[in-house]
């Protein structure tokens, strides 16, 4: 089932869809697995598995720390792929690789796509890879049936959004505000206007990320887009009291455990 069909199917069940995030190897792969179990119980639709990178310059403090510590503990890219394979095998949600371009560049575009495919990913998010630089990788992805998640941002001109829309596949990641991951976004008229602008330039499902953390955010996204992308908020919960807090976090979002 391709991703658009998947999304259409899931949307019948609820709105918005949910995408969550873990940093591979942080605090440990075992913990990651436990987090994912809970996420699966709450019926999460997509999960980003972030491959840790030493220079995570688009991430906020919590993810920076997570990337760094994971590397310091010895997490290697090969382990991330292995983990991904176990995850896609075990769970129903779709899995995306998230990370920085150097991870792909260093191993080579073909190897990257091949290994992603083998590990069962449906796509990837590389926030520091602009579309101009992505042609080869995008072509390889298309062949392999993977999609690169394109980001649209509030500072983009309409002209630019059009270009982004033209190459997007699978879904579009609408960055709700300036800044890095982690801090709260006020889901305001401004964001709604921005999402309308995105809408004009793509028919793909729209995910909204950066600072999504509570039920109101989800309602807002349900009204204005398709997928709520939850990153830091979930990790924060895990860090505060592991299973218990993460469970409470999802309940707080108004979700129910299956």
């Amino acid at each position: 089932m391709d991703v658009e069909a998947y999304i259409r199917a899931r949307k019948k069940v609820r709105a918005p869809l949910l995408m969550t995030h873990v940093v591979c190897g942080y605090p440990s792969f075992e913990d990651n697995m436990k987090e994912l179990e809970i996420m699966a119980q709450y019926g999460v639709d997509f999960v980003e598995l972030q491959f840790p990178f030493s220079e995570p310059s688009a991430d906020g403090p919590l993810f920076v720390k997570a990337n760094q510590e994971s590397i310091d503990h010895g997490t290697r890219v090969a382990q991330c792929f292995e983990f991904m394979a176990r995850v896609t095998e075990r769970f129903d949600f779709k899995v995306l690789m998230m990370g920085y371009y150097n991870t792909a560049f260093k191993m080579g575009h073909e190897a990257f796509i091949k290994r992603l495919k083998a590990a069962g990913a449906c796509g990837y998010i590389l926030p520091d890879l602009p579309i101009e630089e992505a042609k080869e990788l995008h072509a390889l992805s298309e062949e392999a049936g993977l999609f690169p998640v394109i980001l649209m941002t509030p500072t983009n001109t309409d002209e630019r959004l059009e270009k982004l829309g033209a190459v997007a596949k699978g879904m579009v990641y609408a960055v709700a505000r300036k800044g890095v991951t982690g801090s709260k976004t006020e889901m305001s008229n401004e964001v709604a206007t921005f999402l309308e602008r995105c809408r004009k330039h793509t028919d793909l499902p729209l995910g909204v990320g950066f600072g999504v953390s509570n039920r109101e955010d989800l309602d807002f996204i349900a009204a204005n887009a398709d997928i709520a992308i939850i990153g830091t908020a979930a990790l924060k919960a895990w860090e505060s009291d592991r299973e218990k807090a993460l469970d409470a976090f999802f309940t707080g979002l108004g979700l129910t455990k299956s």
Partner: protein, 416 residues
């Protein structure tokens, strides 16, 4: 040879190196800068104002000094030195920040941010911000804040806020990441004054352009002093701004041996140095916004680096230099920490000059090669900065006991 005459569709690329690899949110900002910088480049009034400001504020042109004693002692080539140490704030970094200051003003922005390792670029940026009336925040790895407190002290007194970066290795590269984070948040009013010819296009071009004043002056001066072009030009390479600055003055002439001198640290071997090209421990990668040779592992994660000179202690290298190196237009050598210590002592005692530890790397290579050159050959060394600001590092490097006693005594005065 115009380095910046990019091929169609390859703007910002030098061979396979360079490019712009930034989060989408910065696309508009980068476009704005590219556009504005193009305008500046084509506006003779811009360069005139730039030159005048550097002349009146920073004392340019800096001289070229002949070193008769050192040349005689080595018994080979005649050694000349371009004196960037005489700039206001003590290094070539001011050339870049003054240029970017003018650009910031033209962009209508009111706030600048900058990364700094040794503190020289932060110091220069804080100075420029005071002069232009910009708000200023300097990101500096916590490790560097601890070892370079004097520079922090001056930056704060110049009105800048200095943030100690707690991530990663807590050094220069982490400060760059932190700048990028600030920038993706505050680009509306903020210009990121990148300190070296690295990072996303147009920074390598822009910084090279501003630093080219070194080479322009040096070319004229060496002809005046020595009657002809130099045979070899030496410059240390951290990010690679002072080197590309001076090399640009000598690139059109054939037969000039341009030598980039990297931080050999404790010698070859992963994690023991910060040499990207002279040693063979680096490989091509993409990070911090650009593609170049990085000191990285097989996963593409960056390695620890090591150098006696904080300003050379960086994972990546100017993509233009990577390209020129590949095409054998620039030769690369490395100087170890031990060699730097010895060269520094020699230069101080024979010529009364105190090069920065960074600049001393260029001296090391020049001193090693001069003896085997003939007496009528000419060497030009770029002295990118002065060492007297780095007394803590130099005194540590030279293991001076009186200094240690002085510091202990001073600590006593401040109470326990």
């Amino acid at each position: 040879m115009d380095l910046f005459d990019f091929e169609e569709g390859r703007e910002g690329y030098y061979g396979q190196y360079g490019g712009t690899f930034l989060p989408e949110i910065l696309t508009t900002t980068i476009e704005e800068i590219k556009h504005c910088f193009r305008e500046c480049k084509n506006d003779p009034g811009f360069w005139a104002e730039y030159e005048q400001l550097l002349q009146e504020y920073s004392g340019r042109p800096t001289p070229v000094t002949h070193l008769p004693n050192l040349s005689r002692k080595l018994g080979g080539a005649q050694i000349y030195v371009k004196r960037e140490d005489l700039n206001h704030t003590g290094s070539h970094k001011i050339n870049n920040v003054i240029g970017q200051g003018l650009l910031t003003r033209r962009l209508g922005k009111t706030r600048v941010i900058a990364e700094t390792g040794a503190g020289q670029h932060g110091f220069a940026t804080a100075t420029m911000a005071a002069k232009f009336g910009f708000e200023c925040k300097i990101y500096m790895g916590e490790v560097d804040v601890k070892r370079q407190r004097p520079n922090v002290f001056w930056m704060e007194n110049l009105g800048a806020e200095v943030v100690a970066v707690q991530d990663g290795q807590k050094t220069l590269k982490d400060a760059i990441n932190e700048c990028l984070r600030d920038w993706v948040t505050n680009m509306a009013n903020t210009h990121y004054v990148l300190g070296t010819a690295c990072g996303p296009h147009p920074f390598p071009e822009m910084v090279s352009y501003f630093q080219s004043i070194i080479g322009r002056e040096a070319k004229r001066q060496i002809h005046e002093l020595a009657g002809r072009a130099p045979d070899r030009v030496y410059a240390c390479v951290g990010g690679g701004s002072n080197s590309i600055g001076i090399f640009q003055g000598f690139m059109d002439e054939d037969n000039i041996d341009l030598v980039g001198c990297e931080a050999g640290g404790m010698g070859p071997g992963l994690g023991r140095h910060a040499s990207r090209l002279a040693y063979h421990d680096a490989s091509v990668g993409v990070a911090q916004g650009y593609k170049t040779y990085f000191l990285q592992n097989d996963d593409g994660n960056m390695l620890e680096t090591q150098s006696i000179a904080a300003g050379l202690d960086y994972i990546g290298i100017n993509p233009i230099l990577a390209h020129l190196w590949e095409h054998k237009k620039v030769r690369f050598e490395a100087a170890t920490n031990d060699e730097v210590r010895e060269a520094l002592k020699l230069v101080m005692a024979t010529e009364g000059l105190i090069p920065a530890l960074e600049s001393t790397h260029a001296f090391v290579t020049a001193i090693a090669e001069a003896p085997s050159m003939s007496k009528d050959e000419i060497i030009l060394v770029n002295m990118s900065g002065r060492g007297d600001k780095d007394i803590f590092t130099v005194a540590d490097a030279l293991e001076d006991d009186h200094w240690k006693a002085f510091i202990k005594n001073k600590a006593g005065e401040y109470g326990r």
